[in-house]
């Protein structure tokens, strides 16, 4: 797979894995309304994944469509960042993951909506409206839980503490990013960091929460070096297509 296809694949994998994770809340959220909120976000992410994986398959031009890429790759072939595969934990931990990732996605798609390659720009422009809402939704919950009861605050702090070490990976640039920028499709993610920090800090201040201490970042997702959690997620997500290839109903 060439660099541009890989670039689309990474975007698709991020959305796909987060969508699958959020889908695990279906029927289990703290309230019916929250159940719908989380699964709405999940469906938005799956929609983005469909577009980006479809684009990756089209650029690769080897006969693989979005379904083939989603359901017929093994764990080492997934290129999503480590943040999105982290377990849901409690509701606050899920919100912490969404908060960090949605603000990143909003900044990323703001820029990508303006790139020269119309295929990437079009998907980003559509997704930007979705992820802007996700960022607001997650931020509101961070404030509500952080500035809530003693227990909700402790859970929010613990959730952010779990997710924080995976945030740096979002902004790491490599050869694939450079090639995508050269091709008029990519975004300089390292340039998004300052604004991301500002947005995150503003919400944390509102939530009366301290910014988690910097820790050694955990990297490797883009190269297929995943946590143990991703394999379990895939065994669920891919079961049907592995047990009954090409099944339709």
């Amino acid at each position: 797979m060439d660099a541009l296809a890989t670039y689309a694949l990474r975007l698709g994998d991020d959305s796909l894995i987060l969508g699958q994770r959020l889908g695990e809340w279906c029927g289990h959220a703290p309230a019916l309304e929250v159940d719908l909120s989380l699964t709405n976000v999940a469906l938005d992410q799956v929609g983005q994944a469909t577009h980006f994986l479809g684009l990756a398959g089209a650029i690769e031009n080897a006969g693989r469509d979005a379904d083939a890429l989603a359901f017929r790759r093994d764990v080492m072939d997934f290129t999503n960042c480590l943040l999105v595969e982290q377990p849901n934990g409690d509701f606050a931990q899920t919100i912490a993951r969404q908060f960090l990732f949605s603000h990143y996605q909003a900044l990323l798609f703001e820029q990508m909506a303006r790139v020269k390659d119309e295929r990437f720009a079009a998907i980003a422009a559509k997704a930007l409206k979705e992820v802007s809402y996700h960022a607001t939704l997650a931020s509101d919950w961070v404030v509500r839980l952080g500035d809530g009861t003693e227990e909700s605050k402790a859970r929010m702090v613990a959730g952010l503490d779990w997710m924080w070490r995976f945030a740096d990976e979002l902004f790491v640039m490599d050869d694939v990013d450079a090639a995508a920028i050269a091709a008029g499709a990519g975004v300089d993610k390292s340039a998004l960091r300052a604004e991301w920090d500002a947005r995150i800090d503003a919400v944390l201040a509102d939530a009366t929460l301290a910014r988690p201490a910097s820790r050694r970042p955990v990297l490797g997702g883009r190269a297929g070096h995943h946590s143990e959690h991703l394999g379990h997620l895939l065994s669920d997500m891919q079961f049907l297509q592995r047990a009954y290839p090409d099944a339709t109903w």
Partner: protein, 97 residues
């Protein structure tokens, strides 16, 4: 764990289907505050392009008529058929009447 849907107050949700129409009651959601109520209303009731504008208001703020007063309130209108503008011919092609 306690059930938030029982602790959170109820909010009534009104949706404007499209520009020019009035807001109509769509249902209700549980939420701890106004902002959450709007987000829950959006996520619960506008997933299929039902609306372009949302109102939420605390259900407790609604003042309703007493069903016991229904006879005095509503039945006197029953024989005032002249209050209906049904004696006019409506031209063909007029909608939204």
């Amino acid at each position: 764990m306690s059930d938030p849907s029982k602790e959170w107050p109820l909010w009534e949700v009104f949706i404007r289907g499209k520009g020019g129409l009035s807001h109509r009651h769509a249902g209700s959601v549980h939420a701890a505050d106004a902002k959450m109520a709007l987000e829950h209303a959006r996520d619960t009731y506008t997933r299929r392009m039902e609306g372009v504008s949302l109102w939420v208001l605390p259900s407790a703020q609604i003042v309703s008529s007493d069903p016991g007063d229904a006879a005095a309130l509503f039945e006197p209108a029953e024989d005032k058929v002249y209050r209906h503008p049904t004696f006019y011919k409506i031209p063909d092609g007029i909608t939204h009447i």
